[in-house]
Amino acid sequence: MAKISCKYFVNVLSVTKKDGEILEIPDGLNVEQFLDFISEKYGPEFAKHVYATGTLSGEPFKTPNIYLNKRRIQWVQDFPEGVKTKVKDGDEFWFGLIVGGG
């Protein structure tokens, strides 16, 4: 089992009711699988914050809305395998960090 640190901010915190926790997850999961794992744990209200969805220039998109070790998973400079990156013991995930209101 791997121990993963999770931090929850604002709108996600209102779902989890706590600002963070250490989760034990099966070894060998990649980021995508971990996001499925935690979405199942907290349900659809949490899951809708895990991926950003919409359209850009008329094209639909779905992309993770999380930070891993203070970096976006979309940065291939840091994560060449993207969501297929293996989750390691001690990794830190942030959920709900970016806010949208004005």
Partner: protein, 247 residues
């Protein structure tokens, strides 16, 4: 362009700032900015830009004022409930500083309207409450070389960064967005982040100071903490990936 005697007196305290003086104040007077949103963020942003002497403000909001806006939208008051917010903003700002010009734009920002609304400006202030509209503005700004100050608030938390692609990541590189919702907000949070946004704009337009580039500043008002996250471009970003960095 010259400053009138009234303008010299109105702005004399900020003109005492090192490196500011007459020249920087004239630069502010010559500046044209687009403020997207006349709500929680748009209120402190537009007020501080107006009183600092930004010469030409274009403030855009298609919404009408509601009573539930008034815990944070300090441009407006009870007597204007039902008014279009851009019109209300214009009335407030021109009263606060009669030496500037304010255009009230009441149209919704869409792919079709964005060019006509923003046009040619020196800077865009993102004071919006949703990411779909932010991404429309981001695309327009990237394709026209206009810097954007992005900010967002929620509850007692907020964020801000200065975007000038290709020297910095564009908004898409920073966030694809969050779900739209009626969100909790304490007015003072919008005040904190809005004042930072206004200061970033004033620094950029005056040429005094440095801007918050390649860094996302996050404010947690509940814990009284600022946190910074370095920002990077997404390789092959669908919005700014075609630009070549000169930085």
């Amino acid at each position: 362009m010259k400053l009138s005697q009234q303008e010299k007196e109105r702005y004399c305290r900020q003109m005492l700032m090192p490196g500011w003086g007459h020249e920087a104040q004239v630069r502010l007077k010559q500046s044209r900015v687009f403020i997207a949103g006349a709500g929680g963020l748009g209120s402190p942003v537009s007020i501080y830009l107006a009183v600092a002497g930004i010469g030409d403000l274009r403030i855009c909001d298609c919404g009408d004022l509601e009573l539930s806006n008034l815990n944070r939208q300090i441009l407006h008051d009870d007597s204007r409930i039902g008014w279009n917010k851009a019109l209300s903003a214009k009335a407030t700002l021109e009263r606060m500083n009669p030496d500037i010009t304010v255009a009230a734009l009441q149209e919704k920002i869409t792919h079709e309207s964005v060019a006509g609304l923003i046009g040619s400006v020196d800077l865009i202030l993102d004071c919006l409450d949703n990411f779909p509209t932010r991404h429309i503005i981001n695309e327009y700004a990237v394709n026209n070389g206009i810097p954007v100050i992005h900010a967002g608030v929620y509850g007692m938390q907020g964020q801000i960064t200065f975007i000038k692609a290709p020297e910095t990541p564009c908004l898409w590189c920073i966030s694809a967005g969050t779900p739209a919702a009626v969100f909790p907000i304490v007015g003072a949070t919008a005040g904190v982040i809005g004042c930072l946004e206004a200061l970033e704009a004033i620094k950029y337009l005056s040429g005094v100071g440095t801007n918050l580039m390649n860094r996302l500043l996050i404010w947690d008002g509940e814990k009284i903490e600022f946190m910074e996250l370095p920002q990077k471009k997404i390789v092959d970003c669908p919005v700014c990936g075609h630009l070549v960095s000169t930085g």
